[in-house]
Amino acid sequence: MDTSQLLKGVLDLAVLAVLRDEDGYGYDVLRRLRGGGMEEVGDASVYGTLRRLYRAGLLTSYVVPSDEGPHRKYYGVNDAGRVRLVESERAWRAFAEAMEGILKEAAA
């Protein structure tokens, strides 16, 4: 089944989550998501999401010069982002629990 529709709703939460402990540039975030099992997440979707979270004031960004190749722009979660992450995580768990129940009911 195509999981891209499901991904869309949770990508914000996923991106905030993988940046919670360590800042990262775009490709870092992408690798962490893929490594966590989100194989189908699109490259451009991650970059779009990063920009949207940044514009919403949930991320900070800074440029790190690189000796080889272009400079890299790192993103990190700020305080507002952490607040949002806690809220979203709570909402997601409640949602997942409800979903679980519904699926169980249906299967029974």
């Binding site: 540039y25 490709y27 979707s45 970059y47 779009g48 440029v63 080889e68 190749g69 722009k73």
Partner: protein
């Protein structure tokens, strides 16, 4: 694997993403591209990366959707013409800057700067459109001619050996110093106006260089002024070579195309006959019968047409009282008596000015000064 942002495929891919997102605010687009550029370069360097990314337009559409940007607005088609005008004016300006820079150290008057004034008439609207947003940089980037030129440029740069590129890059910090040095050099060789222009261009680069990295609209200014300064540098290096090989032809040297004697320019020539009588008019020829035409360095401004470079001597001289050029009739000196054969036993070195006591044994002159001029 190393990242090559300069490879033509990457440059083209990025240009198409940029074009597809051209309607975003310039600052936001710059931020997006700052993320996307290293990403695309890195993915292109991976095996199979290109297939994963898909077309640049699809990439841009996905980014737009995930980023919550408004749907694309189709650019009005008539922008194309303005963008084209702006682009070609900038190309012309860059070429002109190149030639102006190369000519900067050469001999010449200030009149060559007049062409800049003409060009400004065309450049001004282009820059105005660019800065008021009537033409966006993305419009220019969408032009087929821009893309083809940019692809060719990047392909050429990619072909350069890595040490050359690295060396040129390492020069970048020194460029600021070199620019000031150029102005000083221009002053030293007496090109005051060129020094002023170079100093101005240098100031513009200092302003525009760092800004161009984030604001594309400033890029043409930075490119044009840098091209100008680089070609000034080339012209100075070239000039230094020429000067060091001996020809000191800069500075206010007055050329004398006339006659010289022992390396010293002659102001005039006089002839006397065997009797010491000045010849009022005589004509000079080479062995081949060519008239030895000589301009009149003293009389250039006040010449009547009859006196244009000719082989008729003595040359007319400037009358300091009237300011006119007048024919020379007498001699400004007293000729010494003919030495050798049978000079009269006169002892004074100042020979008599009349012909009465002049030597008579010299062969009489036979050539009458009636040869036609020219």
């Amino acid at each position: 694997m190393s990242v090559h942002t300069g490879s033509p495929e990457v440059v083209d891919y990025l240009a198409r993403i940029r074009a597809a997102l051209a309607d975003l605010p310039a600052e936001e687009l710059a931020e997006v591209m700052e993320d996307v550029e290293p990403h695309v370069a890195e993915v292109f360097a991976e095996a199979g990366g290109i297939e994963r990314l898909g077309s640049p337009e699809a990439y841009a559409a996905e980014l737009r959707a995930a980023g919550g940007y408004p749907p694309p607005t189709a650019p009005p088609p008539e922008r194309h013409g303005w963008a084209r005008f702006t682009f070609w004016v900038m190309v012309g300006l860059a070429l002109l800057a190149l030639f102006a820079g190369l000519a900067a150290a050469a001999q010449g008057s200030g009149s060559r700067y007049a062409v800049w004034v003409f060009l400004l008439i065309f450049v001004a609207p282009g820059m105005l459109w660019l800065f008021t947003g009537k033409v966006t940089v993305a419009d220019v980037r969408r032009l087929p001619e821009y893309r083809s030129l940019s692809r060719r440029f990047h392909a050429t740069v990619a072909k350069l050996p890595e040490p050359v590129v690295g060396y040129l890059r390492s020069l970048r910090p020194a460029w600021g110093l070199i620019r000031i040095g150029l102005a000083v050099l221009m002053l030293l060789v007496g090109r005051v106006e060129a020094a002023v222009v170079v100093l101005g261009a240098s100031a513009v680069v200092t302003w525009a260089g760092p800004r161009a990295r984030t604001d594309d609209r400033v890029l043409p200014i930075a490119v044009v002024t840098n091209v100008f300064l680089a070609s000034v540098l080339v012209s100075l290096v070239f000039a230094a070579f020429t000067w060091s090989t001996g020809r000191h032809d800069y500075g206010p040297v007055q050329y004398n195309d006339g006659l010289t004697y022992d390396g010293v320019p002659l102001r005039n020539l006089y002839a006397v006959d065997a009797n010491g009588t000045p010849l009022p008019e005589f004509y000079l020829y080479t062995t081949g019968g060519e008239p030895i035409n000589v301009p009149h360095p003293m009389c250039d401004e006040n010449l009547s047409p009859d006196y244009h470079p000719s082989n008729k001597f003595p040359l007319p001289m400037l009358d300091s009282r009237t300011g006119d050029c007048v024919p020379v009739t007498g001699l400004p000196f007293v000729p010494l008596p003919q030495q050798g054969s049978s000079a009269p036993p006169s002892t004074t070195s100042l020979a008599p000015s009349s012909s009465t006591s002049a030597p008579t044994t010299a062969p009489p002159t036979t050539a009458p000064p009636t040869t036609p001029t020219r």
